[in-house]
Symmetry: D2
Subunit: 175 residues, 4 copies
């Protein structure tokens, strides 16, 4: 029985909507944690500094040493929550692709994980970022492909032509 669902996809690929639908259709209560939770937990200074996470004018995102240190502890903690019995949906943007997956895979070792790739055409994601109104221009396009490099998934979905709820039902059927 799956204990952790990891969704990986670029900005504006539709992960958050899928997570809410998953929490609605899955019969048991699942915790939703992810990149947004971690960034919100960090000091304001780390959200725009060399040591933290940096959002460039072209939409690319880079993270520094201090971000990585806190992130490593965060990943350990999320794994510990699952080991303590919580079902967890992780909603992530693997900027490092397969390298990011290896870090999570190591922490989640021994737990039943469902790895889900959330794909979305770059132009569609970019337009959805505009529609949402809170995403930097270029971010969705720059992440659309890079986050999937070197990844291994149990399941892949494409949100460009599928509603969040339908994606959630497909994932729930594989849990």
């Amino acid at each position: 029985m799956t204990q952790v669902i990891v969704l990986n996809g670029g900005s504006s690929s539709g992960k958050t909507g899928i997570v809410r639908c998953l929490q609605s259709v899955l019969p048991e209560p699942w915790l939703a944690l992810g990149a947004d939770t971690l960034v919100a937990a960090m000091p304001a200074s780390l959200r725009s500094s060399d040591g933290g996470i940096e959002f460039a004018a072209d939409g690319t995102v880079s993270v520094g040493e201090e971000f990585r240190t806190l992130e490593a502890a965060w990943i350990e903690g999320v794994a510990a929550m699952a080991r303590a019995g919580a079902r967890i949906i992780v909603d992530e943007i693997f900027l490092g692709g397969g390298e990011s997956q290896r870090r999570w895979r190591k922490a989640l070792d021994g737990l039943p994980v469902l790895w889900v790739g959330v794909r979305c055409d770059a132009a569609v994601a970019e337009a959805r970022g505009i529609a949402r109104g809170d995403r930097a221009a270029g971010m969705a396009a720059s992440q659309a492909e890079v986050v999937h490099r070197g990844m291994v998934y149990d399941l892949e979905i494409d949100t460009a032509h599928t509603e969040s709820m339908e994606c959630a039902r497909t994932i729930a059927a594989a849990v």
Copy 2:
């Protein structure tokens, strides 16, 4: 030349996303004002009282006398902004259908208005409300049809199968 664009559609039909895309693709700056702006401007007490706006457990919404009084002044003010030269996109939920349209039409008299109906299948809108996570269950479904009763449009779009940006381009072409 269109001075006011009025978008009418039920909750979670996708109006706000279209508005942001419209502001992005239209060459001139347009102000976006609507039901959400007015409700946010009202006292907290009016958002859940007999005189104000009431969100029932089944998702239906009803408004009272005091809400109507403030709304009437609000409509006059938005029309005055347009007369003073601002281009305005009004993003509304006409719970009264054609009767609501008559109120706006009277206030906007003499101004070039583009009336746009934003339709979305009730089940799709309801699922999108879940994906957004901030809408009451049943609200989208209960409003999907009722807001279009007795309405006369210059243009109708269906968001169930069309992205916000594409809807925005269709509307922009008619401005």
Copy 3:
């Protein structure tokens, strides 16, 4: 009987909290509109461009030609709402001080207006901006004094040592 209350003060001086308390203690329903409402209504492009509003790294804010044009229409519209019968609380940051007041005074001509200066020590406002977490560093400090230059008030309050609710009661007593 006062029809419009205009609160003017710098960023993080506590205006929004006072507005909510005013809406709570005043017996009649009042609409709350202001700088935040207008900025939210503008296109994303105007929030960071030469023609729009610009937030510099040192916290200073400057506005351009297109912003001014939309703002002028906005002011006309808010005045029209009051003339149509709505009681309105305007929550503003008069970057132009007395010059900004003249623009509003002209539009509100003939209406009974209560002008309220909301003062807050620059260091206190700056620290509150950090506590709120959503304000640019330096903004509160840079605006604390400049917004009051050349202003004429009916009432002045100081939020550095007075709670929002107490400020609201003082203002309500003068309405």
Copy 4:
């Protein structure tokens, strides 16, 4: 050297503002996690159900079995993050007072923890809840005393007459 700071106080007692100021004044990066993070991570259904957390009309909050199960795993995870090296500020509302503290104390066993009581006069907290505009009436008043029952603190602060930044400096000096 303190690894975990636990702030306990009722709704609208000013914890979140203090946390942001703490993150700003502490020289090392600290993660801020707490009751709000956990509630946001839960399914929408758990936020208003018998098994979850319930906000009554009088402002009281009660939590059920499923909430407690997820919360227990959450606490384990936060402790694991600290053990993995992260400095963490926990921002909590101990509805169970000393009983809640025992749960956290057990999970944090062996870690250097600074326990901070955040007090605020009930009437002041209630008025601040109105000023914030997003808190249920009665919640602040009902929690002001109950969360401190049976608690043992290293440090107590009173926000009724002290700014967030000053509170943060007092806490930082004790870290």
